[in-house]
Symmetry: C2
Subunit: 255 residues, 2 copies
C-alpha cells in the first residue's frame, strides 16, 4: 500500500483506455491495444490508471466514457469507428458529450480524394462523421481519421491503424515524469522473500515494489520490480532486492 | 444496434472480469486472462459483458468490484492473491462485501502440509486469508487456493494457475444457451459491403452481425461474423453474407 499511495500522489497526467467491441468480450479477438498504449504512455510520463472493455452497446459506451473522461486527464478509445452498422462509437461519444453528429469537411475531402468517382457511397461517408466540435486524428495507415473531442481520443480497433493514430496523438499530450524500472529475476518462491521485500517497500515509500511469480518448465521463481521517477533510488532499491535474493541463497539476475 | 439489443435480451447468466495489477497498466504484462475467461464462458452460455483493469490500489479495487458484482451474475477477478505486500485483493474483496478477513482452516491445513516445518512463515500464511464466509477454489497447479464469496470468484493472476482455478469453478456456474458463430472471410473493403451487411443485420435481428477488417502484407479485407443462439439461423445468415460477398465479385471463405 505504501507504494501505491506514494507513486500515485504525483502530479503526472493520468489516462484510461476504453476498448469497444463485442469481439473482445466474446474472446474472438485478443486485445493488444491496451498494452501498446500503456507502454507508450509510460514513455511520456502519463499514468494509465484504468482500462475497460465494453461491447457494441451505445448506453454502455456512453456510461463508461462519461465515468472515465471526468476522472482522468485523457481517455483513449479503440474500436467501432468503421463504416459498418456495428460501428457506433462516434454516436456514443457525441451522446456522452451531449452534442450532435456532423460530417467533418476535411474528413469528407480526404475520403473523397481516396475513392474513385461513384465509390464514395453513403456507408463510406459514415467514416467522416464526428461529434460536433471534434478535431481529426490523422494517421499514415488509413485515410479514415480518428477523432479528438475534449480530453477523449477516438481511435480504430485495428492495431496497425490505432498505432499510426497514436503517432499523431502522442506529440499533443501533456507529459509527466517518466517512470524508471529495474527488474530482478530470482529463482526463489515468493513466500521466502515476501517479508524482506515488504521491508524494502517500506524503506522506499516513493517507489512501487512488485513481485510477479512465474512457473516455467525449468522451475519457478519471481520477478521483482522496482518502479519510480527517481532513477537513482530505483537502482538503489534493485541492489537491496539483489542482496535479499542472495541472502536466500539464490543468484539474482537483472532482466 | 439491432443485434446488440436482441442478443443481449436473453436471460443468459452474465459476467464481468476484473483484472487487478499495476503490471498490466504499466504495460509490463500483456493480459491474456480476460481472453481465456471470455472463451470459456462462451462455451457455458454465460455472456461476458464487461472487463476492467485496475491497479493495486485498495479503493479502486473495492469500487470496481462493487459496481460489477451488483450488476452481473458473476464476477471473476485475477491477480493480487499471493503472499507479497502488493497482494491486496483479499482485503479489498472483504471490504467490498463489508466483512472481516480471517484464516480459512482448510487453506491453512493445505498450506501447512505443503511446507516443511518452520517454512510455513507468516507471509506464506497470508495465502490462507479469506474474507469471512468465503469458500475455497481448489486448483491442481498451486496449493494456494482461490476464493469464492457470493457471486465473486477471486483467482490468481498467473495464467496457468488461473486456468486451473477456472476448472474448479466452471462446473459450479449456472449455464445459458451457447452462442454459435460463423465467420466469412472476404477480400473486400468494409465500405463496399456495409450497406448489404446492415440489411442482413436487420433481417436477422436475433443475431449479432459483426465486421472486423484486417490489413495484411498480402492485402486487406474483412471477417464477417454472425453470432447467435440458434445455429440454423446463424448458418442462414452466413450464407446470405457469402452471397453478398460474391455479389461484390469476391470469393467468400469460411473460417
Amino acid at each position: 500500500m505504501f507504494r501505491a499511495r506514494s507513486v500515485r500522489m504525483s502530479d503526472n497526467p493520468t489516462a484510461a483506455v476504453l476498448v469497444i467491441g463485442d469481439e473482445i468480450l466474446s474472446g474472438r479477438t485478443q486485445d493488444t491495444n491496451t498494452n501498446y498504449i500503456a507502454k507508450l504512455l509510460g514513455t511520456l510520463g502519463i499514468d494509465l490508471r484504468e482500462a475497460r472493455v465494453v461491447g457494441d452497446v451505445e448506453d454502455e459506451i456512453v456510461a463508461a466514457l462519461d465515468a472515465l473522461r471526468r476522472r482522468y486527464t485523457y481517455v483513449f478509445t479503440t474500436g467501432g469507428i468503421g463504416p459498418t452498422h456495428d460501428d457506433i462509437t462516434v454516436d456514443a461519444v457525441a451522446k456522452a458529450f451531449g452534442v450532435g453528429v456532423e460530417y467533418h469537411p476535411e474528413a469528407l475531402a480526404m475520403l473523397t480524394a481516396r475513392y474513385r468517382p461513384g465509390e464514395f457511397n453513403d456507408t463510406r461517408k459514415r467514416m467522416a462523421r464526428v461529434p460536433r466540435g471534434a478535431e481529426l486524428v490523422r494517421n499514415e495507415a488509413s485515410v479514415a481519421p480518428g477523432i479528438r473531442i475534449g480530453n477523449v481520443f477516438v481511435m480504430a480497433g485495428v492495431p496497425t491503424i490505432m498505432r499510426a493514430m497514436m503517432e499523431d496523438v502522442a506529440p499533443k499530450l501533456a507529459r509527466g515524469a517518466v517512470v524508471h524500472s529495474a527488474t530482478v529475476g530470482a529463482r526463489v518462491g515468493e513466500g521466502r522473500i515476501a517479508e524482506g521485500l515488504a521491508r524494502i517497500a517500506r524503506a522506499f515509500p516513493e517507489l512501487s515494489i512488485g513481485s510477479y511469480p512465474f512457473y516455467r518448465d525449468d522451475g519457478y521463481g519471481t520477478q521483482l520490480v522496482a518502479r519510480g521517477r527517481d532513477a537513482a533510488r530505483v537502482e538503489e532499491a534493485a541492489r537491496e532486492i539483489e542482496s535479499l535474493v542472495r541472502a536466500e541463497g539464490a543468484a539474482p539476475e537483472r532482466i
